[in-house]
Symmetry: C2
Subunit: 408 residues, 2 copies
């Protein structure tokens, strides 16, 4: 891993999740000795839900997961690091299929109960021999790897391992939710993409798990941006083993469903924020909150317009209280906005109100806020009750160096 991000957080204490066994191995997708293939085996009866990239050019693994998700049942997850297998035509599809089939044979399930994800170099077909041998080696190692080990094995350009955990009660039964994630740009097809995997011992029907994961993703994984680019391989999967023995939940109003959804969302939010904290070149973690929009959807469009603006992000990098660039980003979002009602704040300080800078504006407290690493931008459109919060990082020379300095 390269220099650790200045915004890194330590890997949390993660309890094991009953019904989940992990093995890692070295398939050797690159000239390295690190583990690069991960197999996770689930107890019979495990349910699954997932959200995949909105890209119109997804990898074969994404196509596979989308189809397999219709079954709602999972016995295995295979993750490759170092080769994304995206845009590799027929040979890539066949190699992925061979690896999935091998995992199914080893675990003793149907291929439709095996989920797959790969990140790394694009355009180079997954080598089928290494992929099948690698998954067999990981199978032999089942039970020997921790969540933290798995996080390292699925990582590519990540500068630190990212995990999160939470608990909830369903009736009298305490259930655990553990999640791991990899990713450091929204995408960098040479060696990146966002993959998130969530494991719980709760018993949750697949359709309910899907409803909860989709809702959680909208306000977490889909509320972050590093560079506005979207991977061909982004995948988030949640697996529920049922090993905790709680009374199964299958509807949003079942007792305990609320608490479980909150724990799931909490883990997703922490993981999503960790991806931003490992954003390529990031030196500041930025929270953008938009209130007073016509509705929540409009608020999120405006918030993402601010979070994606190169001019806002470079201003933050420079510690510049450039509220004019925030006005610009609000204006370009395309959602309803009234210049003469707009309030903008940095941290706790109101900078502009009703379409003009505040009377007696003092930049000193704003400059102090912007000199830190945790930055807050607030916008109130004063049009309605729509509200959204998204997270991003600053845009620095580091981003350019990571993604553009091939010749230096």
């Amino acid at each position: 891993m390269s220099t650790i991000s200045p915004l890194a957080r330590p890997f949390p204490a993660m309890p094991p999740v009953a019904g989940v066994r992990i093995g890692t191995a070295t398939a050797g997708y690159k000239a390295w000795t690190r583990a690069d293939v991960t197999l996770v085996e689930f107890a019979p009866g495990t349910t699954v839900a997932g959200v995949t990239t909105k890209s119109k050019c997804p990898s074969p693994e994404v196509d596979w997961c989308r189809a397999a998700l219709t079954g709602g049942s999972a016995r295995a997850l295979v993750v490759n690091a170092g080769n994304s297998n995206a845009f590799t035509g027929r040979s890539g599809r066949e190699a992925s299929q061979a690896q999935v089939d091998r995992a199914a044979a080893l675990v003793g399930c149907t291929s439709g109960e095996v989920f797959a994800a790969s990140t790394g170099v694009i355009g180079v077909p997954l080598p089928a021999d290494k992929a099948t041998a690698g998954v067999a080696a990981a199978y032999a190692a089942l039970g020997s790897a921790s969540f933290e080990d798995a996080t390292h094995a699925i990582g590519t350009t990540d500068t630190f391992a990212k995990g999160a955990t939470a608990t909830a009660f369903i009736g009298a039964t305490r259930v655990t939710v553990c999640g791991i994630v990899k990713g450091s740009g929204m995408i960098a097809p040479d060696m990146a993409t966002m993959l998130g995997f969530i494991f719980t011992d709760a018993s949750v029907a697949a359709p309910l798990l899907q409803t909860m994961l989709s809702a959680a993703t909208e306000q977490t994984f889909n509320a972050i941006t590093v560079d506005s680019d979207t991977s061909t391989s982004d995948t988030v999967l949640a697996f529920a083993t049922g090993a905790a023995g709680n009374s199964p939940i299958s509807a949003v109003d079942d007792p305990g469903a609320d608490g479980f959804a909150a724990a799931l969302t909490d883990v997703c939010r922490k993981l999503a924020q960790l991806v931003v904290r490992d954003g390529e070149g990031a030196t500041k973690f930025v929270t953008v909150t938009v209130e007073g929009a016509e509705d929540d959807r409009a608020a999120k469009v405006v918030a993402m317009s601010i979070a994606n603006s190169p001019l806002v992000k470079t201003a933050i990098a420079g510690g510049d209280a450039n509220w004019g660039r925030v006005v610009m980003a609000v204006g370009k979002a395309g959602e309803a906005a009234d210049r003469d009602r707009l309030d903008i704040s940095f941290g706790p300080t109101l900078v502009a109100t009703r379409g003009a800078v505040v009377d007696g504006y003092d930049e000193a407290p704003v400059a102090r806020h912007l000199s830190g690493t945790e930055i807050e931008i607030g916008v109130d459109l004063h049009l309605g009750h729509g509200r959204a919060r998204v997270w991003t990082c600053d845009l620095t020379h580091g981003y350019i160096s990571i993604n553009g300095d091939y010749r230096s």
Copy 2:
């Protein structure tokens, strides 16, 4: 002006346009001695058309131009450099109005025949005393300034003066089209925005001029991007004095209308490309051509997705033939795309076809193409007949330095 862009072009020989007189003066919006206010006077009978920013938070000058355009008639244009007057509330509106009224009194026309544009610092109201004194000084200097002088006077962060000219025949009458433009980021509210002004001696009815300018803008000024950010003040205006004495044209099928539209579009395209050539930090000029889309609209969405992608732009900066990032940008555009039909080329070299890298791919000629300053990216979706071409520049450390290095 700062270091001249390595992609700069010399200012062309620009003939005067009959019916157009230009004066510049120093209003002193900043602590400088350069000309920063420009007054252009038009002969009676001059028609006008315009296109303004899509921002929902436009400057008062943009609001003013939108209203004045409904009259279709122009006698004067006032341009301020160094202060954008955007997001300045009532005092900014009043200052702009005072300047427009003063220009109208000097020229002897109604205020509705005066057009205004300002770029520069955002959030600081235009100083009404300097603005009115400046326009009076520019009026006194009418006839003494050339198009090139005006280009310098309207510029802010521009590193070179940008102009273009073309001629056409309407019947037996030769007509001239001259244009000037300023801008170097799509926006940088401290001191930038795109303003384009086109002057012709042709006699063209205002509604036809609007139709032609709108169509030209769609494939020129609205087909460029530097950083995906959109100014609160972007304005393009076209003025037709009628002094050439051609038989007036008022419909697209009038004799000579085609040729005039072609000349107008040609000037717009040259000006638009010059803005990209002065893109902040730009070292390479990039042409993105998308063919085979479902329709032209879809082709343009895909082309702009590629042109706006930070990962594509940093790869170009690094001279890296990273076609995977082009796949990513096609996929994230949201328009119909079939991974397994996609062709991608850099310069004359086909790199990927039908969803995979070409057999026996040789990176050498592609690397040679990417080491130059004029880069071409071609995508064929093989779905339909939609086609679009857009222009952008690379994303470099220079962009970060210009926009983020406040503290260095």
